[in-house]
């Protein structure tokens, strides 16, 4: 991990007007829904999309523009670069997601229906798991294609897996449904802490599954990045 790279990435993401505008849309509508319904659950789904937004093109844009050459001419290893991008995207997305969730909690207090502390903790922790998971997947996809191609690859994979799930359900092919569910699980690794409010511990299987998915996608991304040659001649 390289703190300079993480800081620069955060600055770059938070000075991009387009990203900030989309992020504002992602947070505004759930907050508005929360204000209307009084349900904290309205904002718990923003973490994944925010992670995708902030991680999109994290590596692919550096490769396409050529700035990666300048970075790697410095004493920075490729693993450190990749992990820094992942952490940067996760921090950016989680910062905004957590702020939105806390703002939502504040709105609930103003409405006179404050969220239970355990419920708030659950939403914040689930957001953390979702952000880190989605960011890792996007970082991996970003090593595969240039520019913002990772976004397209994510959408395509999600679409195909949903199509496959629909076909599986229609033809009653359980293996296809299972495979589609696995692919979708890999695309959005997160840990459900639904039992926390009842005082139940999280499922260790879910935690290990989430951690191993993140490890796997980062390892694939690193393998790809290590093999990538950086030259317009090589393209």
């Amino acid at each position: 991990m390289n703190a300079t790279l993480v800081r620069a990435f955060l600055r770059q993401r938070f000075t991009s007007p387009m990203r900030l505008a989309i992020a504002a849309m992602f947070t505004f509508f759930p907050l508005a829904g929360l204000a209307l319904t009084g349900q904290l659950a309205m904002v718990q789904g923003i973490a994944g999309p925010l992670a995708i937004l902030f991680a999109a093109g994290a590596i692919g844009q550096d490769v396409s523009s050529g700035t990666l050459q300048l970075l790697l001419a410095r004493p920075v290893t490729r693993p450190a670069y990749l992990v820094s991008r992942w952490l940067g995207a996760s921090l950016a997305a989680y910062g905004l997601a957590a702020a939105t969730i806390l703002l939502g909690a504040g709105v609930l207090v103003l409405r006179g229906t404050p969220a239970a502390p355990l419920e708030l903790a659950r939403v914040l922790l689930e957001a953390a798991s979702s952000v880190t998971g989605h960011a890792a997947v996007m970082i991996m996809l970003s090593t595969l294609v240039g520019g913002l191609g990772d976004l397209g690859l994510y959408a395509l994979t999600l679409f195909l897996s949903q199509m496959a799930a629909a076909i599986g359900a229609f033809r009653q092919w359980t293996w296809l449904q299972r495979a589609s569910a696995e692919v979708q699980g890999v695309l959005g690794p997160e840990v459900s802490l639904a039992g926390l409010a009842q005082g139940l511990p999280p499922s260790w299987f879910a935690v290990v599954s989430w951690a191993s998915t993140i490890t796997l996608v980062l390892a694939v991304g690193l393998a790809r990045l290590n093999r990538r040659e950086l030259s317009y001649a090589s393209g």
Binding site: T4, A8, G66, L70, A73, P75, E229, A233
Partner: protein, 362 residues
């Protein structure tokens, strides 16, 4: 220990999807040795493999075979990278940062101390001639020349001992070129090893100790330059045909008095070798003073232009066999102090490099 050792480097690229279209050989067995403090130019036609060679030296590309050692270390060693500066041909700087922020970013990436960061970066901006207003401006709003200067400043972060410059003066105005020469002369005098990939032959001839001509992925020739040799040249003086031509003997005498050498006569042109720019001025003044009716004076094309035009290789040089012609294998030779030769056969190819010039030699 040599600064850079390249042994029998081979690099090819896959053509088509998954390499189904075969492979294009970019480097076909390049061998090269560069001594510490040497400034070496890499020239050659488009597609010769120059950028690929640079990419391999920087660790951006993986050679198919062969070996590269930088001060005895592999190219991706962090100690090597910490001592490396790189100016890319494509000015791919982070456009959202200000010039100062970009330098500070690279200063931090280079692992240099934070307490001297601002002062170091300001000094670099001053060195390349970017003022404070430009330093605070977003890189995306820089002109091409300003980008080139900023990219050079970025490459100079941390006073690198190894500097790779890809087309460093492309798009730079004359004042910027003077700044570039001065920076290179100082770096070279301090013992930095500099590799320049450029099509600006006159500039390469002026600043480099040695030039490597790459063609079709091979080192076709090496040319040892004399420090400061850019000023030494052959002048072609066109005489008026409206007056009786001066006798060659008289021209030779005038040239001798002016410190130049008469090289020959082919009506209506006379050719003279001069040691430097001042020598050219003295010769022209002497010819005019002695009543020689000259109507035009022009320098003949440089050594590298002739080398380039000849395709880099004459029968004397040919292709460099692996390991041959590396500078480190031959005995040192004194720099050539005579005016530039006027025949292609005078090239001191495969000669070892001269020592680094004294400060201010160029």
């Amino acid at each position: 220990m040599a600064a850079i050792v390249v042994e029998n480097l081979v690099k090819s690229y896959a053509r088509g999807l998954g390499g189904l279209g075969g492979r294009t050989v970019a480097l076909a067995g390049v061998s090269l040795t560069i001594e510490p403090g040497e400034t070496v130019g890499i020239i050659g036609p488009n597609g010769a493999g120059k950028t690929t060679l640079l990419g391999c030296l920087l660790g951006f590309l993986r050679p198919d075979s062969g070996r590269i050692a930088i001060h005895g270390l592999p190219v991706d060693d962090l100690a090597v990278r910490a001592a490396t500066g790189y100016l890319p041909e494509r000015l791919v700087l982070d456009r959202w940062m200000s010039g100062m922020a970009l330098l500070q970013f690279h200063h931090a990436l280079a692992g240099l101390p934070a307490d001297s960061r601002e002062a170091d970066c300001q000094a670099l901006l001053d060195r390349v001639g970017l003022d404070r207003e430009a330093a605070g401006r977003r890189v995306g709003r820089y002109s091409r020349g300003m980008l080139q200067r900023l990219a050079l400043a970025q490459a100079l972060v941390g006073e690198p001992r190894l500097l790779y410059l890809d087309e460093p003066v492309s798009g730079v105005d004359p004042a910027g070129i003077v700044v570039f020469r001065d920076i290179l002369a100082r770096l070279s005098a301090s013992g930095a090893t500099i590799l320049i990939n450029s099509h600006q032959l006159a500039e390469v001839e002026r600043v480099c100790h040695r030039v490597v001509f790459v063609k079709q992925g091979r080192v076709e020739a090496m040319e040892t330059m004399r420090a400061g040799a850019a000023h030494a040249r052959v002048l072609r003086v066109r005489l008026s045909t409206e007056q009786p031509a001066a006798a060659p003997g008289r021209l030779a005498a005038i040239a001798g008095d002016a410190g130049a050498t008469f090289r020959g006569w082919s009506a209506p042109d006379a050719r003279f070798a001069v040691a430097d720019d001042a020598g050219a001025t003295r010769l022209i003044a002497a010819l005019a003073r002695d009543g020689v009716a000259l109507i035009e004076v022009m320098p003949e094309e440089g050594r590298l232009e002739r080398l380039f035009a000849a395709g880099g290789g004459s029968a004397a040089t040919g292709a460099s066999p692996p390991g041959a012609g590396s500078a480190g294998e031959a005995a040192p030779a004194a720099p050539d102090a005579s005016p530039a030769p006027d025949t292609a056969g005078d090239h001191s190819r495969f000669m070892p490099p001269p020592g680094p010039p004294a400060e201010g030699a160029r």
